[in-house]
């Protein structure tokens, strides 16, 4: 059962990567041109979000009418609705890094497979940043190791 489930996780990752490549998200230039709203603006990446949300909003709703997912007894979706400083500070930092480098985590990982210097450097330092965050914040927040997979 676990093996078969992991095959679905593998398929999800594979489809995800293909979507990122088709959409243009693996191009740092395209990301930075999208974020450069006052310059030569390329609004394409807004359409990536529109396409992804349109599909997942509808299909996700249909899936969530099930009692449980196929390979688990329940859904593991975050239920908290509270805005807190960690959420907003983390998102703010992420946006700064996204604008500086032109990579967010998925496109960075996918691009690094080709082996170019920029995506490889990005993935290495991103991983270090993730580990650093854990050791700065985890001792105070016991839930960190099992936090919802986002």
């Amino acid at each position: 059962m676990a093996m078969k489930g992991n095959l679905f996780a593998f398929a999800s990752g594979l489809i995800f990567a293909v979507g990122l490549g088709v959409s243009g998200m693996t191009s740092q230039d395209k990301v930075i041109e999208f974020l450069d709203i006052s310059g030569a603006w390329d609004p394409s990446l807004a359409f990536v979000m529109i396409g992804a949300i349109a599909v997942h909003f509808v299909a996700g709703r249909i899936v969530r009418t099930r009692k449980s997912p196929i390979f688990d007894t329940k859904f593991h979706l975050p239920t908290s609705q509270d805005l807190d400083a960690k959420l907003l500070a983390g998102a703010a930092l992420f946006g700064v890094g996204w604008g500086l480098g032109g990579f967010c985590p998925g496109p960075g990982i996918v691009s690094s497979v080709k082996g170019g210097a920029a995506p490889l450097v990005f993935v290495v330092t991103m991983t270090l940043g993730m580990i650093l965050q854990h050791f700065v914040f985890a001792p105070r927040t016991k839930s960190a190791p099992v936090q919802a997979a986002r």
Binding site: W41, L100, T127
Partner: protein, 144 residues
């Protein structure tokens, strides 16, 4: 402002494929397809579902290999950003996405699709600081 290099159709199609990928993971495991969370969990102690996470990340790698063969132009050969700046960007992205519990996929696609207030607030925040950062680097400092 003027519009350049606008490719709405591949963007919509690619986005729809990403939405499908997120739906596959929701249907199979009931989990959010958030890349910073799934990937980052592999590098911190206490994570229990490593095989599942490894399978997803392995899928990302396999998808990248498929793209290399079928759509090589998805991978530009030059970076518009100098390597030291890319290194700093990576550090900030890694730290920030773990602190804020998500990135473009978990908050931007999955959370927003569920109409989660937290995810919509996070998405608005990282978009705003992303716009502000490029404004500063390209128009205030006049860099790269």
């Amino acid at each position: 402002m003027h519009i350049v290099n606008f490719t709405p159709l591949p963007a919509l199609l690619g986005g729809a494929i990403v939405g499908l990928a997120a739906t596959v993971l929701l249907l199979s495991h009931g989990k959010v397809a958030g890349i910073s969370g799934l990937y980052g969990g592999l590098f911190v102690p206490g994570t229990t579902d490593r095989p599942f996470r490894s399978a997803f990340v392995g899928g990302l790698v396999a998808g990248a290999l498929l793209l290399l063969i079928a759509l090589p132009r998805a991978f530009p050969t030059t970076s518009p950003v100098a390597l030291p700046l890319v290194a700093i960007a990576g550090l900030i992205v890694g730290f920030g996405t773990r602190l804020g519990n998500g990135c473009t996929s978990g908050h931007g696609v999955c959370g927003t699709s569920r109409l989660s207030y937290r995810s919509m607030a996070a998405t608005a925040t990282f978009m705003a600081t992303g716009f502000a950062t490029v404004f500063v680097t390209h128009h205030v400092l006049g860099g790269n």
